[in-house]
C-alpha cells in the first residue's frame, strides 16, 4: 500500500487516539482516514462512546442499589464524572469501580452521605463474592482444644470477611433493590451500626453485629487470642460472663464459616 502519509511512531498514534477517547482531544482526527460514508471524527466517536458505555455498564452492575436510589439520569451523571476522574488502570473491568465510594464522599455528593455508605457496602459485597476461598475449621476442631489451651488460641478468618460501620439504612436499601422492591428513603440511625460481610460456600452474606462482637472480630483480625478477647470483653459484660460470651461468638463464627484456622501458641 506504499508509503505512509503519517510516519509518527506507534506510541504517538496511540496517545493521540487515547486522548480523543478520554477527553475528545481533536488532534487524533488528522491521523484517521475517512471512508466514503464515515468521516474520521465519527469513526473516533465510535470508540469514545463505546468507552463510556462499557465503563458505565460496569458501574451499573457493581452499584445496582446506588443506581436504583438516585435514578438512571443522576447515575449516568455520576458515572460520567467518575469516568473522567478515574480512568481504568487495571487489566480487569472488575476493579474499575473501586474508587467510587471515595468519589462519593467528596464534592456535591458529600451532601448525601448515605451514597458513600451504600457504595462502600455494595463494593464490599463484590469483594466478598470473588475473594479467595479457604478450608473452614469444623466445630469439632474447637471441641478438641483442651480448656487450658483456650486462652492462647488464635484464629485466621476467611479471606472474604469484611467489616463496615453503617449509620444509614443502606443494607435495607440494597435488600429492597435486590428483591426488585422500591428502596426505602435514606434514614440515619442514632449511632453507627457494625456490619459483617462474608461469603460462605458460594453465597455472600451480611449481618449486623453487637458492638462487643464487632470489637472482638476486629481484634481477631489483628491477631488477638481468645484470652485477649476475654480481657477486652470486660468492658461490656461482667467478669464471670466474659468467657461464655467469647466462646459464644467463636462458635457462631465457626458455624458461619468465618474461621479457617485455629492456632495454638
Amino acid at each position: 500500500m506504499g508509503l505512509s502519509r503519517d510516519p509518527a511512531p506507534l506510541r504517538e498514534v496511540q496517545q493521540a487516539i487515547q486522548s480523543y477517547v478520554l477527553r475528545g482531544d481533536r488532534d487524533a482526527e488528522a491521523r484517521v482516514l475517512s471512508t466514503s460514508r464515515v468521516d474520521a471524527r465519527t469513526r473516533l466517536d465510535i470508540y469514545a462512546k463505546g468507552y463510556r458505555l462499557r465503563l458505565l455498564e460496569a458501574l451499573e452492575e457493581d452499584f445496582r442499589a446506588v443506581r436504583a436510589l438516585i435514578g438512571e439520569v443522576a447515575f449516568q451523571r455520576l458515572a460520567e464524572g467518575y469516568i473522567d476522574a478515574h480512568p481504568s488502570a487495571h487489566f480487569s473491568l472488575r476493579y474499575f469501580g473501586q474508587h467510587l465510594p471515595s468519589y462519593l464522599s467528596h464534592g456535591e455528593y458529600s451532601a448525601s452521605p448515605w451514597l458513600f455508605e451504600l457504595a462502600s457496602f455494595e463494593w464490599l459485597l463484590g469483594e466478598a463474592f470473588d475473594a479467595p476461598g479457604a478450608t473452614l475449621v469444623s466445630p469439632d476442631a474447637l471441641a478438641s482444644v483442651p480448656p487450658a489451651s483456650w486462652p492462647d488460641m488464635g484464629f485466621t478468618l476467611h479471606p472474604s470477611v469484611r467489616r463496615i460501620e453503617l449509620a444509614w439504612n443502606v443494607t435495607r436499601i440494597r435488600q429492597a433493590v435486590e428483591s426488585e422492591e422500591p428502596p426505602p428513603a435514606p434514614e440515619r440511625s442514632e449511632v453507627g451500626i457494625p456490619w459483617l460481610v462474608w461469603r460462605q460456600g458460594l453465597k455472600t452474606y451480611y449481618r449486623s453485629l453487637e458492638p462487643d462482637e464487632a470489637a472482638s472480630l476486629d481484634r481477631v483480625r489483628e491477631g488477638a487470642t481468645f484470652g485477649n478477647l476475654c480481657e477486652d470483653l470486660c468492658r461490656w459484660v461482667a467478669e464471670d460472663e466474659v468467657a461464655a460470651r467469647a466462646a459464644g461468638f467463636l462458635r457462631r463464627w465457626v458455624t458461619d464459616g468465618l474461621v479457617t484456622a485455629v492456632r495454638l501458641a
Binding site: G2, S4, Q14, Q18, A89, F91, L202
Partner: protein, 292 residues
C-alpha cells in the same frame, strides 16, 4: 484426509463461549459441545462462584482461554502482573490454547477496555512480533492472535490488515484465531473485500475460528456479539471452511444471551456448513483444494 500442519492442535469440534448465565444449564444438561472458550479476565479473581464453576465445568469439557487485556500492540511495557496471573490460571485450567487480540488496549497505564486497532506499519510488525515472542517464551507455549473488528484506520498504515496479521504471525511464529465476523465487519467498515482477506491468511497458522453476530448501523457495523450470526457472515464462513478445512470453531455471544439451546442450534448450523463443505471432496487441511 485431514492433515494437520505441524503447528496446529487437531480439530476439537464446535464450541461455545462459557457465560455465567449458562453455568447451571451446562452442569445440569452437559450439552454436546466440543469445548468451551472462557474469557480469561473473568477468572483472574481470588475465588468464589467464577472459579468454582470454572473448575466444575472444566472437569467435563476442554477449554480455551481467551484474553482481552494482553495489549500485545501496546507501547507500555508488558504487564508482568497480568502475565503472571494468566500463567497461574493456565496452570489451573490446562487450556487447549491461550488467545488474545491483535490490538492495543491503552497507553500510560490506562486501560480503555477495548480492542483498539493498530496502524499497519513495519514498525508495528516488529514491535508486536517482539512482544508476542516474549509472551510465548514466558508462557512456554505458542499463543493465538485474533483479528479484531475495527471502526477506524490510520493514515500511518503502510500495508493491509491481512498483510499485517500475516507478517506478525510469521515473524512471531504464533498462531491465528480468525474471527470470520470480524473480517466481515472490518471489511464493510473499511470498504475492503473480505474474500481477499481470507485468501491471504496462511492455512497452516489458523488454529481457531470465531463466529458472532454484529449490528448494522447503516453507515458502519459494530461487533456487538448480541444477536445471531447474519447470512453474509455464514457465507463467508462457508468460504473459510473451503479454504481452511475443518477448523475448531466457536460462537461468541456476550449480550442478550439466549437460552443455551438457542446457541446450540446456531452452533449446529456451523457444524452443518463445515460438514457440507468438507464432505464434497478430499479437502485437505492445507487448503490445496480451496476456491474449487
Amino acid at each position: 484426509m485431514t492433515e494437520t500442519s505441524a503447528l496446529l492442535t487437531p480439530h476439537l469440534g464446535f464450541g461455545l463461549g462459557l457465560r455465567k448465565e449458562h453455568y447451571d444449564a451446562v452442569l445440569a444438561d452437559r450439552p454436546e459441545v466440543g469445548w468451551f472458550e472462557v474469557i480469561t479476565e473473568n477468572y483472574l479473581v481470588g475465588g468464589g462462584k467464577p472459579l468454582d464453576y470454572l473448575d466444575r465445568i472444566r472437569a467435563h469439557y476442554p477449554m480455551a482461554m481467551h484474553g482481552v487485556s494482553l495489549s500485545i500492540g501496546g507501547t507500555d511495557p508488558l504487564d508482568s502482573g497480568y502475565l503472571k496471573a494468566l500463567k497461574a490460571l493456565a496452570a489451573r485450567v490446562e487450556p487447549i490454547w491461550i488467545s488474545d487480540h491483535l490490538c492495543w488496549t491503552g497507553v500510560g497505564a490506562v486501560n480503555l477496555h477495548d480492542l483498539m486497532p493498530l496502524p499497519y506499519t513495519e514498525e508495528a510488525v516488529r514491535h508486536v512480533a517482539g512482544r508476542v515472542r516474549a509472551v510465548q517464551e514466558f508462557l512456554g507455549r505458542r499463543i493465538l492472535l485474533e483479528n479484531v473488528s475495527s471502526y477506524l484506520s490510520y493514515h500511518a498504515s503502510q500495508m493491509s490488515e491481512w498483510e499485517f496479521l500475516v507478517a506478525v504471525a510469521e515473524e512471531a511464529d504464533c498462531l491465528i484465531l480468525l474471527d470470520i465476523n470480524n473480517i466481515y465487519v472490518s471489511a464493510e467498515n473499511h470498504e475492503l473485500d473480505p474474500r481477499t482477506y481470507l485468501a491471504a491468511v496462511p492455512v497452516e497458522r489458523v488454529q481457531q475460528f470465531h463466529l458472532a453476530g454484529h449490528r448494522d448501523l447503516g453507515d458502519y457495523r459494530i461487533d456487538t456479539h448480541d444477536e445471531p450470526i447474519c447470512d453474509p457472515v455464514w457465507d463467508l464462513y462457508r468460504d473459510a471452511v473451503r479454504r481452511f478445512g475443518t477448523v475448531t470453531t466457536m460462537i461468541e455471544r456476550d449480550d442478550h444471551i439466549p437460552p443455551l439451546a438457542e446457541l446450540l442450534t446456531e452452533l449446529g448450523q456451523a457444524e452443518r456448513i463445515a460438514a457440507e463443505e468438507t464432505a464434497s471432496g478430499a479437502l485437505d487441511r492445507s487448503g490445496n483444494r480451496a476456491w474449487a
